[in-house]
Amino acid sequence: MKPKFAMYWASSCGGCEIAVLNTHEKILDVDANFDVAFWPVAMDAKYKDVEAMEDKSILLTLFNGGIRNDENEEIANLLRQKSQILVAFGSCATEGCIPGMANFSPSHEIVETAFHTLSTENPNSIYPQTSYKMPEGTIYIPTINSRVKTLVDVVPVDYFMPGCPPESHQISAVLDLVIAVVKGEAELPPKGAVIGVGNSTVCDECDRERDVKKIREFTRAHLVGALDPNLCLLEQGIPCNGSATRSGCDARCPTAGAQCIGCYGPAPGVIDYGARLISSFASVVDSNDPDEIERILDGIPDPAGQFYRFSLAGSLLKGAREAV
């Protein structure tokens, strides 16, 4: 009998599933080596089917998405119970990602924005109720948590695979490894490892020339007439997050002329992604005069958004004060 494979999406966009399908013919290897037991995006399945499975009967579960509501948390616990290897797959599950930026606001404001802003037609101010009495009995919808959590905040996680989404060649490599492990040809990495990544920063993979960084002005790519195609973006005043971001993506964005926004999460040894970037950006500001430094820093109008676009829910502070 083939070992079981599962993939689940919690609070996420579905891009991680696309990235898995983007492995092209590798997906046939998944089918050849695994019995796909549960994958809501790809096939029909019910939670009760998973509940009926024996504990640890799923060999590999790729869990993408953060923990936004009690349904996410329930399924995270269920899949932890049923899985031998649970992988926090993608940026949402490892560090919150874009949905994690909701941690800048309290949850009641998020509900308010969704159901009661000018762009929403809701003349009777109808808000969703989490339970409703039907003739057949009471039905429930999930309840929103006060903040987005990462997968490891709610259950023990075996491996972390960052990326928004993880690059397909990295997914292929990880699938190959697990298949080799099943065949007894390889060993799993130590528990808690970050997999499907490089062991350095995006800068290390970036082909742009680097010299001494001295920033007199932070700007944005569309405000600059023509960017130097060969020079480090940060040296051109573009706030590129590559210096704090883990390698593994082949530096796609800076190579294409767009700054790294940090989707591969913190580089090895970095505890708080934003803190590392604050350190890195501040170090290259070319002034020792407080007023002049403040003027240069005005070029980063939203520092919290710049530094925690992907990592807010997994950062030391977890969110803004109103939300934690």
């Binding site: 903040r147 499907g196 913190p266 590392r276 403040e294 820093l297 919290a304």
Partner: protein, 158 residues
């Protein structure tokens, strides 16, 4: 009596080995009083201050953080205190965006001879934070934990 008037803030103070730590030492030798609310941590230089230290302090219950170093132009390592200044200014902007009052993070310069000045800075900092009240970050969120074990990392793809 309200809770606020009973409140004793916890301040984490980062000091430079060459100046502000010695200023604190001097204050001790000279029997200059400063509030026990501050817990001093000695670094080799204010330039050693990783913003992570500050975030960790706030996340684990500090009500304020004070960074101290040598006066501009007097750094033992030439100009690392200017780096500390720039990191402080950028970190403060980020903390304000996260809803933490700017007054909870303070930068002060103190030479090794300035025990009185350092004691005064600490006293003023404690009183500023006392007025703001507790930050209570660790009570609101979950316990802080470091999720990625750097020692257990393994490269799957070169």
């Amino acid at each position: 009596m309200t809770e606020k008037s009973n409140f004793e803030p916890t301040i984490i103070g980062f000091t430079c080995n060459w100046c502000s730590y010695r200023a604190a030492d001097l204050a001790g030798i000279a029997r200059i009083q400063y509030p026990a609310n501050i817990r001093l941590v000695r670094l080799m230089c204010s330039g050693r201050l990783d913003p992570t230290f500050v975030l960790k302090a706030f996340a684990e219950g500090a009500d304020g953080v004070m960074i101290t170093g040598c006066h501009p132009g007097e750094c033992h390592y030439l100009e690392q205190n200017y780096k500390a200044l720039r990191r402080y200014l950028l970190l403060r902007r980020t903390l304000v965006a996260m809803g933490i009052e700017a007054e909870r993070l303070h930068l002060a310069w103190a030479s090794a001879a300035e025990g009185i000045q350092l004691a005064r800075e600490i006293t003023e900092m404690v009183e500023r934070v006392r007025v703001l009240g507790p930050l209570n970050w660790h009570l609101n969120g979950d316990q802080v934990q470091i999720t990625h074990d750097a020692t257990a990392e393994l490269e799957v793809v070169a």
